[in-house]
């Protein structure tokens, strides 16, 4: 028996290599897309366009990170797009009411947390499936937002607030800095804290986790709260970018966030996922949309391409996992 343990270190290195390899494959895909587009259209590589691309991808990227936490527990958060739209309204209303920007932002984030806690409550206490409770919030939040605004857009009367999203720091758009601001702590949280481990354990086998002393309910609350928080944060960024509060904004972003996460190697069955994967996934999607625009590809095609890409990447990911065993 002991002889077998001696011959050990081969297999895990392989498994790790596979993971790294998958990350690299995504990165390579992104780079290849960039190179091809730079050659195909001169406007792609322009600093203006690159900055634009980073801005486009950033918000979905942040949503995808929050979404990934939820998916790792074996759940799903369909509400994030609606939370983004609702948050633009909350932010706009408060800024226009004369609140200081920081207070308006902080309050919006608290609203996002509140929505996440509500999801946790619905799942843990009411026993509703995540799909249902977040679907319910998706439609109700849009409705509440429309009631609050009477269906109108609210123009945000703060120039300073709006310049933030257009500005850049060190040549990099501020919005992309926000991805780093979210991504680095998210990575540390997921890979290097016990709460990250608990997310995985709940997604893998909630019963085993419970019997091991993991507070499963609290872990579920945590996942949805983080997702709600990320969504509210994106809402603030979007409000800054478009300068209005409008509850119908960010239509379908929840699906883009889920797609980014899945392209980034997250398993919808839970217990498999990372932070860098969804980030890469989000920027791959953004690049495809951006490139298609520049190449004057019919925007209907962009949707089709995205769909095909999801199938192809997840299929190859499945092959990789089988091979990795």
């Amino acid at each position: 028996m002991s002889t077998e343990t001696a011959a050990a270190p081969e297999a895990p290195r392989k498994r790790r290599n596979f993971n790294v390899l998958f990350g690299l494959t995504l990165l390579a895909l992104l780079v290849v897309l960039w190179i091809v587009l730079s050659i195909a259209t001169p406007s792609f590589a322009s600093p203006v366009n690159i900055a634009n691309l980073l801005r486009q991808g950033s918000m979905i990227a942040i949503l995808a990170v929050g979404q990934t936490f939820v998916i790792i527990t074996g759940g799903i958060d369909l509400s994030v797009g609606a939370v983004v739209g609702f948050s633009t309204v909350v932010t706009a209303l408060m800024i226009n009411a004369g609140w200081p920007v920081w207070l308006a932002v902080a309050t919006t984030l608290l609203v996002g947390i509140g929505i996440g806690v509500f999801h946790g409550f619905g799942i843990v206490k009411m026993g509703l499936p995540p799909f249902i409770i977040t679907l319910a919030t998706l439609t109700s939040l849009r409705g509440i937002g429309l009631l609050m605004t009477n269906g109108n857009s609210i123009n945000i009367q703060s120039e300073a607030f709006q310049t933030f999203s257009r500005g850049s720091f060190g040549g990099v758009p501020n919005l992309f800095w926000m991805v780093i601001l979210v991504g680095v702590p998210a990575y540390v949280f997921l890979q290097h804290t016990r709460w990250g481990r608990y997310l995985f354990s709940v997604g893998s086998n909630a019963e085993a986790a419970r019997l091991s002393g993991v507070n499963v309910n609290r872990t579920i609350y945590m996942a949805y709260t983080l997702s709600g928080l990320c969504a509210a944060f994106v809402g603030v960024l979007l409000a800054s970018r478009i300068g209005i509060g409008n509850p119908t904004q960010a239509e379908g972003w929840e699906l883009q966030a889920i797609a980014s996460s899945v392209i980034g190697g997250t398993s919808l069955f839970g217990a498999v996922g990372s932070v860098h994967g969804p980030l890469l996934g989000a920027f791959i999607l953004a690049t495809i949309n951006n490139g298609a625009n520049l190449l004057n590809v019919n925007s209907f095609w962009q949707r089709i391409i995205t769909g095909v890409l999801i199938i192809v990447i997840v299929y190859f990911d499945g092959l990789r996992r089988k091979g990795g065993r």
Binding site: R194, N205, L211
Partner: protein, 509 residues
């Protein structure tokens, strides 16, 4: 069929019935492993042929080859004198080969009848003939002597009853050659008796039965011949009348029986936990004390209230009356979390459903209860995580390439070791083992029992729940017998005969 005809392979040549299936140098290689080394073996029509061996000995591989679940990489299979590829389950079924698996693989949300006819439904004009199927299924079940209703949802039956349904389903298909893989692992004694009756009847009808079990007494009760596998190698075949348990165990592991139930006695220390007149869902008025250095065995039939008692102790369910004292102090245990904080550890009955995060790494599972301890300011210490995991992997001799391998890739016995390892790591004071050796081979069993000794030496106490009488009988310092939710008798180490204990558990004089 006469004994002589079954005696040896030489007898085959002397005009015994022609084998129904012959394996000639059958083997299976995977990249990197030789799962089954060339086997030459012949199965006779109408015999019950037991196959025994430790986990990882190659039994599962053999079953999968026979049922067409995997394709052989070498050798030949001769079915009724004709070489067959046996490369798909459909082909196996067409020949009349079928298997009943250890874990029920049926649809819980369909009726018993629908399950029995799944994939082979009766239809008229393309529509299901639901009532006819229920009627026919009921007839099949009645004919088999199972007292089960065909119309109910499968999920409403106990695991044991579901197993019987699976057996019924297989008999409809496996008309010539039927494989039972550890069929009694989750059965009550009565259900097991029903199953044995079925197996004997099938044999009388000329069906060849392959019977795989870890329980030696079943092998001797049922089988005509027994074949032994060890480490993917075919060791040999014996007629059941010409061998005995010690010989089979030697063939399987090179270790004697006495070494398996290696019981060490320690002086008892202070009481760790005391349940005083505890009542809860499924049990009533139970008083039990566990002291340092003591194994307390809980024996009873499935559903007698043993598991319910310990899950209540562990905070899973609320108690309705009585009190729990932990190291002399009355405690209120409201959740598993409370129990774990006190120093309790539960290795649950079902490893797959409750014990492990299968699609996560071994090291992750081992450290799951202690992540709090090995992190500072929320950050996990990588070095500590590695050290703890490797200490348990080494100490328990868990067969895994490294701590990064997924728990699902390990054998059942090694998975059980992970469950134990994670609690050793946690440093618990009271260990509750619920059926720790179900589906575990003799060698691993011996190791798990050896571990018990080590736990006791370190001053821990153990509650051992088992439906397998020899296990509690040979190991428990104090043996409590449960029947219908009540504690009906208590004995010291080997103080009562095993017949007495059994009678107390069943409740007949």
């Amino acid at each position: 069929m006469s004994q002589a005809a079954l005696r040896t392979d030489d007898a085959l040549a002397r005009g015994a019935p022609a084998p129904i299936l012959e394996l000639k140098g059958l083997e299976k290689r995977y990249p990197g492993t030789h799962a089954l080394k060339p086997v030459d073996l012949a199965f006779l029509p109408g015999e019950i042929h037991a196959v025994v061996g430790e986990n990882g000995a190659g039994k599962s591989t053999l079953i999968k080859l026979l049922t067409g679940a995997i394709v052989r990489t070498g050798g030949d299979m001769i079915w009724e004198g004709r070489s067959v590829p046996l490369s798909t389950p459909l082909e196996a079924q067409a020949l009349g080969i079928n298997a009943v698996h250890q874990e029920v693989v049926l649809c819980r949300h369909l009726s018993v009848a629908a399950n029995i006819f799944l994939g082979d439904e009766e239809t008229r004009y393309g529509l299901l003939r639901q009532r006819a199927m229920v009627r026919d299924a009921q007839k099949i079940l009645d004919d088999l002597g199972f007292h089960l209703p065909a119309g109910v949802m499968l999920g409403d039956l106990t695991i044991g009853q579901q197993q019987l349904v699976a057996a019924a389903r297989a008999t409809v298909r496996g008309t010539k050659f039927l494989i039972f893989d550890e069929p009694t692992a989750y059965l009550t004694r009565r259900e097991a008796e029903q199953l044995f009756a079925l197996i004997r009847r099938l044999k009388a009808q000329g069906v060849t039965i392959i019977y795989i079990s870890h329980r030696m007494e079943e092998v001797f009760e049922l089988a005509d011949r027994v074949s032994v596998l060890r480490d993917g190698t075919y060791v040999g075949t014996r007629a059941i009348g010409e061998t005995d348990e010690p010989e089979l165990v030697r063939m399987m592991i090179n270790r004697s029986l006495e070494q398996i139930y290696h019981k060490e006695h320690f002086a008892f220390g202070a009481p760790i936990v005391e349940a005083r007149n505890l009542s809860g869902k499924g049990f009533e008025d139970v008083s039990i004390t566990v002291r340092e250095g003591e194994i307390v065995g809980l024996y009873g039939l499935v559903g007698a209230g043993r598991s319910e008692f310990v899950t209540t102790l562990y905070g899973r369910h609320a108690k309705s009356a009585g009190s729990i004292h932990w190291q002399g102090r009355e405690v209120d245990i409201r959740s598993e979390h409370d129990a774990i904080k006190l120093g309790m550890a539960l290795a649950p009955e079902s490893r797959r459903d409750q014990g492990l995060c299968l699609n996560l790494p071994v090291g992750f599972n081992i450290n799951l209860p202690v992540y709090k301890r090995i992190s500072a300011n929320g950050l996990i210490s990588n070095g500590e995580e590695k050290r703890q995991a490797e200490q348990q992997i080494g100490g328990l001799r868990i067969k895994t390439p490294t701590r990064h391998a997924l728990a699902s890739s390990l054998s059942g016995g090694n998975q059980q070791k992970i469950v134990i390892g994670k609690w050793l790591n946690h440093g618990a004071k009271l260990f509750i083992f619920d059926e720790p050796t179900v589906g575990v081979d003799v060698g691993t069993k011996a190791e798990i029992y050896r571990l018990f000794g080590e736990l006791l030496r370190n001053g821990a106490g153990i509650i051992l729940i088992s439906s397998y009488l020899p296990e509690v009988y040979e190991l428990a310092d104090t043996l409590h017998v449960f029947r219908r939710g009540r504690l009906v008798a208590s004995h010291g180490f080997r103080a009562a005969t095993d017949e007495t204990v059994l009678t107390e558990a069943i409740g007949k004089a």
